[in-house]
Symmetry: C2
Subunit: 207 residues, 2 copies
Amino acid sequence: MITKIRLLIVDDHLLIRLGLVTIFSDQPDITVVGEASSGRMAAELFAKTRPDVVLLDLKMPGLSGVETIKLLQEQSAAVCVVVLTTLDQEEEIFRALEAGAQGYLLKDMRKEDLVEAIRAVHRGERWIAPLAGARLAERLVRKELSDRELEIVKLLVHGKSNKEIASALSLSEDTIKWHMKNLLEKLGTHDRTQAAVIAIQRGIVKI
Amino acid sequence: MITKIRLLIVDDHLLIRLGLVTIFSDQPDITVVGEASSGRMAAELFAKTRPDVVLLDLKMPGLSGVETIKLLQEQSAAVCVVVLTTLDQEEEIFRALEAGAQGYLLKDMRKEDLVEAIRAVHRGERWIAPLAGARLAERLVRKELSDRELEIVKLLVHGKSNKEIASALSLSEDTIKWHMKNLLEKLGTHDRTQAAVIAIQRGIVKI
DNA sequence: CGTGATATCCCCAAAAATAGGGACAACGCT
DNA sequence: AGCGTTGTCCCTATTTTTGGGGATATCACG
C-alpha cells in the first residue's frame, strides 16, 4: 500500500464520529483527514484536506446531506461520497444517489462492511447496503409522483381535506380529486389515511 | 475518587458503542465494564458485571429498550438506567421513564452532558435532556388515549375504515365512530388522516 | 405530432363526520 | 354508601367528504 485512502467524516453526532474514527484508525490503508459536524464545515474541510472519500451522514440539521453532496460537487466534480444513514427515510436513498453518492451504508453495519465500502468506492465501484438496495429495487417497479401530486400529498399529510387542498393550491376541488385518485393508485392504496402513512414511511413527506 | 462508576453500555449499533467507549475511556471516574448489542446480552452482562449504571439504547431489534429495562429490574430492583436515543419516538420517552429509567439522553448531545448525566444518575438524581423534557411537559397538558382508543388508532394508521375496525374489534361501526370522535378530539384534529400522522409523530403507533 | 401532466366539469355511491339520544360498570372521593 | 366521573357501548339521524367513473381542453416537451 503506497498511499493511504484519505477520508473525511461528516456527521452531526459526536458519538458516530468517534465510532467511525475508532474503526478507521485500525485500518492500515485508511487515514481520517478530517471530521465535520455540518455540511458547511464539510465544504471547508474538503477544500483544506482534499480527501479521496467523504463519508457523510444524510440526516443533519442545517444543510441536509443531499445539499452537502451538491456543495462538495461544486468544488470537485469527481468527489467520492459514501452516504451513512439509517433506513427510515427511503426517499433519501434515491436522492443521495441521484445527487452523486457512490456508496450507501447503514449505521448498524458491521465494521468489515464499513471499511470495505470505503475501499470499494475508492476503487471506483459502487457499494450499496443490501437493505438499501432492496428499497431501490422496489422503487423501480413503482411510479414516481408528479410535482403536483407531491404538493398534494404534503398537504394531505398535514390533514387537509380535498376542499382545503383545492383552496391552498387555487384549484377546483374536482381537480384535487383527480390527483388524489392517481396519488392513491401510485401509492398502492385506496385510502387517503394509508396514503399519508405510506408517504411518511417512504420519506416522501417529512414530518 | 475512591471507586469508579461501573458502566454497562447497551446499543445494537457498533458505531455508537465505539463512540461511547471512547468518550468514557477519557473519564477518570467512569469505567466501562461491558458492552451489549441486545437486550438479552445486556441481561447476561448485567448479572456478570453488576454495573452501577446501564446506558441503554431504546431502539433495538429483538427485545426493545423498555422490555430490557424491565428485564434488568427483575435482576435488581435498584438498577440505574440511562436511556440513550433519538427524539423521534416521543411515546418512548414516557414509557422508558415509566419503566424506571433514571436518565434520558439524546444521541446528538455533547460529550460533557453525556458524562455529567451518568454522574448525576449515579448520585441518585434524574437527568432528562432538555428537548425530551419539553416533550414531557407537553404530555402533561394533553389527554391520554384509552386502551380502546389506542387499539383503534393503531388500526386507523394501518388504513382500516371504521367498518373494518369494527369488524376487527367485534364492535358496531357506530361505537367505532364514537371512539373516533373522541380520538380526533384528543389528538387535536378533526381529520382521521391527520390523526394517523399525529399518532406516528408521537410514537403512539409504530410503523 | 403524439404523449403526458395538468386542469376542469359532470355524476354517483360509499364512507366519514357531526349531532342528538340512552345505558351500564368501574373508579375514586367525600 | 352514595356521588360524580370516566370509559364503554349502542341507536338514529343529517351533512360532508371521499373514492371512483367518464369526458374534454390546454400546454409543454421531445
